[in-house]
Amino acid sequence: MISVQSLTKKYGESIVLNIENLEIPKGQSFGLVGNNGAGKTTFFSLMLDLIQPTTGHIVNNGVQVDSSEEWKPFTSAFIDETFLIGYLTPEEYFYFIGELRGRNKADVDALLERFKDFFHDEILGQKKYLRDLSKGNQKKAGIVASFIGDPEVIILDEPFANLDPTTQIKLKGIIKDLAASNEVTVLVSSHDLIHVTEVCERIVVLNKGELVRDIQTSTETLKELEVFFGG
């Protein structure tokens, strides 16, 4: 589904990302872990063509992302609050994304119904604009919006940060369901080793822009990661 070839990103002299080769098959739930500055967000931004690679490229389902826009219909993401339109209510935002992805109001409503539990009555019908919601609730809205329109690739940067424990557990369930379908490729980054080992079939560790571990998740994975980061 996604293939990365000799991808590097430099700012001046410093190399912030350097991935020689990476293949992510369709339907995989892929976890990216690393310390601050490891290059996780840089990698996701490159995947979304928000920044330009210095060398190399990413191919998403046969589309090279920095030369064609054809990846947009089947890819969705929530990176940070710049993916939210502050002056819209959550409902308006969902419908807006829905319309961009060819889903009418009824489709979007049906999808939102499935996430009623996840929203915990704090998103819909609140008479608030997105900019006035708390950080955690903004994140919930952004994450659910990325599910609209049955995308084949979903990119979530730090989805667990800022969420309360109940919501974290629910989100893990949602991501696991998505991964189970084998239709959707989910890319998740996290600082939380426990969460990421729980939801991802495969975990890649970045360190200072280099790919240093590529692990198929097993019962040993958490320990291995703890040794890596603790050592």
Partner: protein, 490 residues
């Protein structure tokens, strides 16, 4: 403690990201302040003699008569311009500093503001002149101190009524009504207020009363803020009730409608964009300078086209110029969503076209100045639609200033909006149509001039697809730079 506060103030000024433009504005403000000081100083010295020479009566009595309007006007200006400095104190709240000290500092800061001491430039020389002219020294000193206290009272009143719009506008309404009544000699409020100000001179000890009032107001402001020093009370930003709106009638335009809906919400729900649109409304009246002959320099025939372009193009210039910066807060979303550049640009283009058409219709009152005047507006509108609408979108690709939708700061001019490329693009926006008109006007006839400009617009309109392809290419090329620039908050 004060030392700490002052160093913080110093650093916040010199280290702010927008320091340079900030400094430019501040220098500009200093000049404004100097100008007003000079005016006040001149008035203070001159007022006495002017009033005397005009034979309006005892200068002190005259000043006292209008004092009430002066005070209310001062309150009005304060309400509009003087801000309560609360934003900087949030990070201090949890530090081991007494709340009283923080509040006292913030209120103290308002006391030393320009809005207070500027009045001294009028009252000090005026009082000195009174003394020189043989008024009772005790009376003058008492009067002066009392008036000073009243202006400081205004300072604290303003702090207390801050953000209470309805109270404020009610007061404003009452006093403008009273002013009108006085003008038409229906009812004169100064008959009732001037005795009070006169007493301040006659009975100098009255000054203690006004100072008492000042102390009372200052204490109540102090206790009010101390009690409301919580994030959810005095320090909370305003939150408006949100309503989900549909605009289903726009659905028939498909994807374009989706963007148009969003743009309408953008304009309606954000302070900054609202201001721009209101500003663009006033452009409609700009033509009055030209067609009434009010400004001599504008009498040449070519200027009519200039007026026509501004009248119909208010929205184009004030809103269109900042496409795509309006979407700067969520530009990464727009760039990674299922949106093609063409659709995005087309929707903005339609918005400009609709607004230009609406302005043209609203401007039909120029028919009063004859067909000729309105024809200039219509021709200007055609040129705006056919040529300028592309040019602003093109120029927008180079403006990489993020816009903070929720604040009105910088709404009236932003330094970065004037980089060399956008400046170069204003040339065809404003100068070219003048040239085209002049060509027709002087070579053939005025009508030919209009036809030429209109033709230019229509030809431009015909090239829509090709021009859009060109602009699209520029937006794509500038995309990464734009995203990076929008990340840096102003």
């Amino acid at each position: 403690m004060l030392k700490h506060f002052l160093t913080l103030e110093w650093k916040s000024f010199f280290r702010s990201a927008s320091f340079k433009s900030n400094l430019a504005i501040k220098i500009f403000m200093v000049f404004g302040a100097l100008y007003f000081m000079a005016v006040f100083l001149g008035l203070g010295i001159g007022a006495f003699y002017i009033i005397e020479r005009q034979g309006w009566g005892d200068p002190l009595l005259v000043v006292n008569r209008f004092m009430i309007y002066y005070l209310v006007g001062d309150l009005y200006i304060r309400y509009m311009l003087q801000k309560m400095p609360i934003t900087n104190i949030k990070p201090l709240l949890y530090l081991p500093i007494n709340k009283s000290k923080i509040v006292a500092y913030s209120l103290g800061k308002t006391v030393v503001s320009f809005f207070n001491w500027s009045h001294a430039f009028f009252f000090v020389p005026f009082s000195v002149v009174l003394l020189v002219e043989g008024y009772s020294p005790i009376g003058v000193v008492g009067w002066h101190l009392a008036i000073m206290a009243l202006f400081l009272c205004n300072n604290f009143l303003n702090v207390l009524v801050n953000n209470k719009d309805n109270v404020f506008y009610m007061l404003l309404g009452i006093f403008s009504l009273l002013g009108v009544c006085q003008y038409y000699e229906l009812f004169n409020i100064t008959d009732y207020t001037s005795p009070f100000f006169n007493t301040l001179y006659d009975l100098p000890w009255m000054a203690f009363l006004t100072w008492g009032l000042l102390i009372a107001l200052a204490t109540s402001a102090f206790t009010y803020f101390k009690r409301h020093m919580y994030l959810d009370a005095g320090l909370a930003g305003k939150k408006s009730m949100a309503k989900t709106e549909d605009y289903a009638w726009l659905n028939r335009f498909g994807n374009l409608g989706t963007f148009l809906k969003n743009d309408i919400k953008l304009i309606r729900r954000n302070k900054r964009s609202k201001t721009s649109v209101i500003m663009s409304f006033f452009f409609i009246f700009y033509g009055l300078f030209f067609f009434t002959g009010a400004v001599e320099a504008y009498d040449g025939p070519v200027w009519k086209i200039f007026a026509g372009i501004f009248i119909s193009g208010g929205f184009l210039f004030s809103f269109g110029q900042f496409v795509p910066s309006w979407d700067s807060a969520y530009y990464p979303l727009m760039m990674s969503q299922n949106i093609s550049y063409r659709e995005y640009l087309t929707s903005k283009w339609y918005l400009i076209i609709i607004a230009t058409a609406a302005s043209t219709i609203l401007a039909s009152f120029y028919l009063y100045f004859g067909w000729d005047a309105y024809l200039a507006v219509i021709v200007g509108a055609i040129y705006n639609i056919g040529v300028n609408s592309y040019l602003v979108l093109w120029g927008g690709a180079y403006i990489k200033t993020p816009i903070d939708l929720t604040s009105n700061k910088k709404a009236f001019g932003d330094k970065q909006a004037f980089n060399s490329k956008t400046l170069l693009l204003t040339l065809p926006k404003l100068i070219l149509p003048l040239g085209v008109y002049a060509l027709g006007h002087y070579l053939i006839s005025p009508t030919a001039g209009y036809i030429f400009v209109g033709m230019a617009g229509i030809i431009g309109f015909g090239f829509k697809n090709r021009v859009f392809a060109l602009i699209e290419g520029i937006y794509k090329k500038e995309k990464y730079k734009t995203i990076a620039a929008y990340k840096q908050k102003a």
